[in-house]
Amino acid sequence: MVAGLALVLAGCATGQATKQSTDKNRDDDKAALAQGLDPAANRDPFPSRYKPAPSGLFALTGATVLTGTGQRIDNGTVIVRDGRIEAVGAALPVPAGATVVNATGRYITPGIIDMHSHLGVYASPAVEAHSDGNEATAPNTAEVWAEHSVWPQDPGFERALRGGVTTLKILPGSANLFGGRSVTLKNVPARNVQEMKFPGAPYGLKMACGENPKRVYGGKGRAPASRMSNVAGYRAAWIEAAEYRRKWDAYYEKQKKGDDKGPGDPPKRDLQLDTLADVLRGEILIQNHCYRADEMSVMLDIAKEFGYSIRAFHHATEAYKIGDLLKESGTCIATWAHWWGFKMEAYDGVPANAAIVHHKGACAVIHSDDETLIQHLTKETAQAMAEGRYLGLDIKDEDAITWITANPAKAIGIQDKTGTLEPGKMADIVVWSGNPFSIYTLADLVYIDGVLMHDRANPPAQPRSDFELGQSGPEIFKAGVK
């Protein structure tokens, strides 16, 4: 039955799948699954089509460079060739043929990474028709992917770019225990999400602790209605996922052995369990909305129980209470400096949260979760740094910049590609008009893969979403028709 269905589907599958079928002998063909029925056949069914324009060779000179590796370089030079960083150092010689951009008196940092954004899935204008970020119909919707809700014309993207944001992680909302897959995007104008997808970035799975799931489902008279039911829900799902993974692994094992009778009936593919099983395989990274210290501590034990790791806690307003546990588990936290008190589980939020976590040797990140705050992440970071200094912590600008560059890159699994100014990395770079932690400083130049995406001095060249194009401007209120 399953094999027959596979043959029918093969006719309308992709060219690649058809080619694979014809390469195989007739016996194998009977057992072969259509691509969509085999979770391992194609783990990237909506592949990135992002292709940066050629960047050429250029050098940014004379700037104070905060590298994202904890270093500060005065009179620094950053050399970019073919979209990659070639060299970073003090007063480096400029290679022959390089275009020189004089950044004297200015600051250079890696492109800002916001690892918690809902741009595109809660697009502006925030009308009901654009509310695509929470599949609040069941507590486990691990089967949904945020990228299928992303509207690339959200005018929030270009505003974030003006704030220096070059990479974003777009997450589903936090109504569910398992909210679905997140997606990592380059902040570039695009016609579809594939043209924004960060090449090679791992998927994340959004999970949520605490008040939101229990409120949303308890309010509907179903589980979970309490924190203990939240935990039962996570554990039950991991048990299902382990079983699913085992069945598929057994099937692939038989397939590999090349038994004459074939591998037998394949398991039925399940999109929800696909995602959960890939977490257990270490291929999808857990991004866990969780505020309270006690709940984060429980989540870390659940991860141990089922053999996966939590890559980052998001919001994590009480992370400062468990810096030691976070350091031990290698879990990053992404938080705010000034948000607190909007609900009970955020009541203990403190401005020095990131600074204290950093001080304890764990990985701290400042995130936005907001289409306005995403434009001001350096200023939010400055507040966290200032409160840390108030407490007597020695936190330098070159440390704090890692909270919005290298650390979020690590937390979403792209630290080998971007997040620091090091040779070989993507040339995702911001040239700031001054110290990025000053309220008066603006992003002058924003490069993504060495391509100038935002030039403050050249407004007509700045990206503009389709939504904003052709709308009446102020002239309508000055027009002369009587």
């Binding site: 000034h338 609900k343 409160e387 309220i439």
Partner: protein
């Protein structure tokens, strides 16, 4: 405190109110940059505070014997900051309704709703605000300044069933005291855009019709109170309490605080104010830059949040970061505030800083969070630094608009305040644990 009662009575500040041994001290801050809030900035200034009163503010002041000396080198003194539309004092945990009095939904007490009765001087939000240099706040009933945050988590309740009017704002100070009301019932707040249209029945035109009818009824009621009390008037669109509250606005004596966003709606508001002879203050005004000349010509003050630039509502599609600067340039009386959520009152200086980053002169941006709101909301003892006034000021570690700079001393109404907050108590508990 005496001062509160005096302010409530509208009397001029009397130094006698501060007599008492606990306050008998002299403080001299030397060598700081003094920003008076009215556009004057002095470097190397000395400020002397005796028993809570400013006795000298300028260069070359003689230091009285026995004064506590504070080195102000590299530091800046400003008046205490204003937050001009906030739920500070009436909201503790936003999503816990028992602690949140910022939203009231009783149609018989819509205009008359007075949030001052809900003010809690023990709120943990107040120490955080004052540690951030905020010494005064205008307590504005909910949604008069619509900018709901974090709606995707469902943390912010919808406002669909709210009454159209939002009651009568009050002014509080943030000092540690059992009574922090400075002024009450200072006008009436009313949203006037998309949310108001929704509350009114689905159209902006209904908002206008309801407002006009209400004003007409209030005036009629005011002229026929005796008849009303004997049941001898026609039916009114509002309750007696609401008519009473609206009357000073209908007579043009008290301001109507109108939350309005779209350029066309701003023009409509200005037209209504002309037709109805209203004393208007506009809140929000995100598209104000487009019709800035008309706002300036009408002499109507605006209360804005400069960082609002996301077109998340159709009515703020043309919101931009230059809004405050462009209105200032056109001659509008611009007052800067921050989000209405009082948890974030301390962000008001960064709102002003952002306005500067996008073109507003710095002295004007500082006036927009000090002297201008003090004048608009009728608090003459705050918002300025001048000899004879109570010290209502902040000593900053540097430029007050910079997020890397913190307040080092805060005086509210003549009394120096602790800068300890609940957040800092938590930080200190866990810092070395």
């Amino acid at each position: 405190m005496n001062t509160v009662k005096k302010a409530l009575l509208g009397s001029v500040f009397a130094a006698l109110a501060f007599s008492g041994a606990a306050l008998a001290q002299t403080i001299a801050i030397q060598g700081a940059t003094l920003v008076t809030g009215t556009g004057v900035s002095l470097t190397g200034a000395t400020i002397i505070i005796q028993n809570g009163i400013i006795t000298a503010a300028g260069t070359g002041a003689a230091i009285p014997a026995g004064a506590t000396l504070i080195d102000g080198t590299g530091k800046v003194i400003t008046p205490g900051l204003f937050v001009s539309s906030s739920d500070l004092g009436i909201d503790e945990v936003s999503a816990v309704p028992q602690t949140n009095d910022s939203s009231a939904e009783n149609k018989d007490f819509a205009v008359a709703y007075d949030p001052s009765y809900s003010v809690n001087p023990a709120s943990t939000l107040l120490p955080l605000a004052r540690a951030g240099g905020v010494t005064r706040a205008v307590v504005m009933p909910a949604a008069a300044f619509g900018d709901g945050a974090h709606t995707h988590e469902g943390d912010t309740a919808g406002h669909a069933d709210e009454p159209m009017f939002h009651g009568q704002p009050a002014v509080i100070h943030t000092g540690a005291a059992p009574d922090i009301l400075v002024r009450t019932r200072i006008g009436v707040a009313l949203p006037f855009g998309e949310s108001a249209a929704s509350n009114a029945g689905g159209s902006r035109s209904l908002t206008v019709a309801i407002l006009k009818a209400a004003l007409e009824d209030a005036r009629h009621y005011g002229a026929n109170k005796a008849a009303f009390n004997q049941g001898g008037t026609r039916d009114y669109s509002l309750s007696r309490q609401d008519l009473e509250a609206l009357l000073p606005v209908a007579k043009g004596e008290a301001p109507l605080f109108l939350a309005v966003s779209r350029a066309a709606d701003i023009r409509l508001a200005l037209r209504l104010a002309r037709e109805e002879k209203l004393k208007l203050v506009l809140l929000g005004v995100e598209e104000g830059w487009i019709v800035a000349d008309e706002i300036a010509a009408a002499g109507v003050p605006v209360v804005v949040k400069p960082t609002t630039n996301i077109p998340n509502r159709f009515e703020i599609q043309r919101a931009r970061l230059e809004n405050a600067a462009l209105m200032e340039k056109a001659g509008v009386n611009v007052i800067i505030t921050t989000t209405a959520d009082g948890h974030y009152a301390n962000q008001v200086r960064f709102e002003a800083g952002t306005a500067v980053a996008y073109g507003m002169p710095k002295d004007k941006a500082l006036a927009a969070i000090t002297s201008r709101p003090a004048a608009l909301f009728g608090v003459p003892d705050a918002g300025v630094i001048a000899v004879g006034k109570p010290a209502d000021l902040v000593l900053w570690g540097g430029d007050p608009l910079e997020p890397t700079v913190l307040a080092e001393k805060v005086f509210v109404n003549g009394t120096e305040q602790s800068l300890q907050t609940r957040a800092r108590a938590l930080e200190q508990r866990y810092l070395n644990r």
